[in-house]
Amino acid sequence: MEEDIAMVKVCVLTGFGINCDYETEHAFKLAGAKAQKVHLQDVIDGIKNLSDYQILAFPGGFSFGDDIASGKVMANKFKTALWDDMKQFVEDGKLVIGICNGFQIMVKMGLLPDIEEGQTTTLSINDSGKFEDRWVYLKKDAKTKCVWTQAVDKIYLPIRHGEGKFIVKDKNVLGRLELNKQIVFRYTDEKYEPTSEYPQNPNGSIDNIAGICDKTGRVFGLMPHPEAFVTPQNHPRWTRENIEKGDGLKIFINAVNYAKKNLK
């Protein structure tokens, strides 16, 4: 039991159409955390409390079937019921990740890029007009403050979305993202050079942005799925290339290590 108490606790949200909860929970477990799938309604009803966890994950999926717009209805549901708890969670120095639909939810409730500013960015329908499942090359912005991506420079991960085109309200928003070192990942070509060409940039995102964090670097959202590459055999070419490990796992390990060091 002692070991249990020392372990970093992760709340992996589920319910209402979230569907990457199993593998996200598994990724955090592989990273050494005590991860638990928690139904959002149980948090809203007070059966579970966010304050009991050090890390909160909004996994991918199709919350409310992407009806109206992806992540929109879930964002409202969460915000209406839990905004104060959410603010407290971030103020307490804790960590948040949103992957794919989770990222869409975070952006649409204004948790990213800046919890104080309301919604200033969005993720909209891909330029191709299509949902697609394909692997993409990503390069980290060297300046980023993101604590989730320490020692990650280049990474290859799958995207699986129809609404991943990152759009900003105006140029100032993009400028601030740059200034505050909030841009985490950009889509690149095979040589890890940023590109706006389809399909390397699969959705037409501005400045080829695939993931951003908040000003603290602790709140992180991205369209690609790191939890889908936690063992070598997840890689689409593992039978022909020498793949030693699942690169996505590093992101979860970083967070768990950060929490161990900085959060009680």
């Binding site: 199993y22 593998e23 199709f62 409310f64 079937g65 499942d133 889908a228 039978t239 022909r240």
Partner: protein, 968 residues
Amino acid sequence: MGKRIEVSYKDKDFDSLGSATREKIKEFLNINVNEVRTVDAYNIDSNLSDKELKKLGKEVFSDPIIHDFSVKEPLAKDFDFLIEVEFRPGVTDNVGRTSSEAIKDLLKKDCVVFTSKQFLIKGKITRKDAEKIATGLLANDLIEKTTILEKPKTQMQAILPIVRGEAKPVVNTINLNVSDKELMEISKQGVLALNLEEMKAIQEHFKKLGRNPTDAELEVLAQTWSEHCKHKIFNATITYEEQGRKEVIHSLFNKFIKGTTDTVGQKVDFLVSVFKDNAGVIRFDKENNLVFKVETHNSPSALDPYGGALTGIVGVNRDTLGTGISSRPIFNTDVFCFARPDYDKPVPKRLMHPKRIFEGVRKGVEHGGNKSGIPTVNGSIVFDDRFLGKPLVYCGTGGVMPKVLFGKDTSEKTIEPGDIVIMTGGRVGKDGIHGATFSSEELHEGSPATAVQIGDPITQKKMLDFILEARDNGWIKSITDNGAGGLSSSVGEMCEESGGANLYLEKVPLKYSGLQPWEIIISEAQERMTIGIAKENLDKFMDLAKRRGVEATAVGKFTDSGRFVAAYKGEKVMELDLDFLYDGVPIMKLDAKWKQKEFEEPNFEVPKDLSKELLKILARPNVCSKEWTVRQYDHEVQGASVVKPFVGEKNDGPSDAAIIRPIYGSDEGCVVAHGIVPRYSDIDTYHMTAAAIDEAVRNHVAVGGDLDILAALDNFCWCDPIKSEKTPDGEYKLAQLVRANKALYNYCTAYNMPLISGKDSMKNDYMIGDTKISIPPTILISTIGKIDDVKKAVTMDAKKKGDLVYVLGTTKKELGGSEYFAQKGFIGNSVPKVDAKSAYKLYQALNQAIRKKLVSSAHDCSDGGLGVALAETAFSGGLGMELDLTGVDNENVSRDDYLLFSETQSRFVVTVSPNKKKSFENTLEGNPFSLIGKVTGSNEFVIKNNGKEIVKTTLGALKNSWKRTLQW
């Protein structure tokens, strides 16, 4: 009155749907328009204040970064034609339902929302063009209504397609004391699809009871006895005649299908539950079982391809969910058969153009699979113009479940008298009434629109999560899906266990009022499961359902009365003896007569340029890349994928089978494959079936699947095989069915592969006026099996310069029904025949070689023969090849083109590292194999035979040709 909120894009660059629609108008209808923009309308049946509407517009329905919204003035401007598409009353409106929930979250108010969409078209088109765009592309008249306005007319009035049913619920009695002719009239008019003998059996039964049946009783009997539910043809007594010899078969199902499993079952120990449940169950590892079921959803997909396919995929998810006390779905498969998308002849009445069917079905599966979070891991698309009459839409779902929960075997359902009948998930409406009986008929003029349903993946996903949670709390005693026949089937089946049930139909939650009791009991409205739970768990169960946003209602109780009883507000609606309901259907007696058909034997010279022939075959719809379609399915959600649909240097090579890891953290893998070759049916369905089985097993073996845990599912799609005025060649078609069954038994037993589940769809015909289109008899064999260690899996792409290229198996002169003959305009007669004994030996040897890690790549050799398999291996690996077929193991195949394109079964193309040559050849000893060349580092693909170059081309040319056809 109602209120309306409109939402549009600030900038037309954001309106991807608009620009995609513009392209589709050109592509599908060949009409040029300058611009299409879209407006979403949310029509709210409530008197919300302007302030509330503005709040909703701002916070719920629009995105401040990209949208404008309006609650007063129409947003439509600057267009020539405005087409607004709305749902017809009663049709499932998923976004509308979510909108209601979103409003409730924000305003704490209940209101019903109906969505509609405006397409604003700019361009020099006529009103007639606009009408064509409306009904030929944007809307399906069966479920949607369109309004066309010319500039500058707009509208801002709320559209409220409310079902206004004022009918009082009544129970009618049907007088069956009538003539035979009138009995058949009753069957026909009620879409009961019962034949005279069956109607007379019912007449007789009620005569004995001294009363007439109620409408509900007759309807429930019709559902339960439908071909769809009862498989009457598979249980018929058939006299089969071949070359003057006669053989009487009592039930094809018992003799050949169950017979296969009985025979194999004596040799294997992994069978857990077969045929009796919604899906088959086999052992996976020490603690878990695998579940697999494949369904077809053909008839609904013909009328509404999107709704039909969507319902198909979410429907088969429920079969997995409803197996044992529930399993968790972990993968989907889908196989479609369509007419060619470039079909250019006139399309008969009530049918849709195959391209529109294709796109609708694709989208249905995309939404059904992706939104449910279940990866689509395996499938194929097959083309033949006879599928114009009915497209085939096969949807499969696999699941995993712990063997034991709370000390009980999870594959067993237990129901006791006094247990509660729960209906959970969606509500009941008129949708899907007569689905089971409708699919037991050919598509005709009066095919009912109500048979079409639209799935609601999000309601189902919520239900799925809830059911698994309830299962893990130990509350579920029995569970089954509400599919064909609705409550009548689900409760009927479940209550066989306890010996009866009483239903209280007034308790069933309805989508709208005005449903008759008989409609409530047979409606096939989607997303519903029926669950049996013990009374003491009722409160806890209901509380959890409420917190999970899932509707659950106690609608009756299980009894041991021997009767299935239903009442509406105290009035008896139905009281049927279970014995009669389940065993009363008369057994059909049918005749089948086999005569080998003779086709013209091709006589054409060997073409001079075989490179060109190869490029042409690669571009054929049955052979070419399906990447455009498959990329739009999420094939790796749940994070378990090991071998994906795409492999190779550029992630675009065609994988032979899928491998996933069902248990997180374990390297034991589940292999999913399939085989299907309707082209061979024209010659002989025996060999068509053998080839489908062999192809499935080959695919399984090619990725490294083991042979000791391998099971199959058989899905028959046939054209009506009962001789009648409409089907004068019924005896031949039935003989085709008998022969397919014989092959099923012979080959599955030879491969130690039990059949664990399956389904048949027997009326895949179209008949309106003088036009009759019957599909070619088609069997899909889907397999589920195991690989002990996923790290030993192999993919089909050439891996490394210098690797040796082998062909395993013997090539024979077997081009009857081949892609090559089809390319030359022939069918021929020399259909490929499978030699099961030598094939199985080869499969065991290849499996050993893979386990010993001696194989770099392995690829199934099928459509298009060696030429295609070698080319695919090369270009998927991005590596050239130098090959010489002179020494390839063959039986008198002297022509170069036949050697390249013969479709002899049981062959593989394999590449092996030179330093493993000896061990590989030792492992293969005693089997036919030929070393034919090597993988090079160049871009050239060269095949020689008898000293001359017969193919010389580049990887780029091969791949381009293969990728182009279905890349839209």
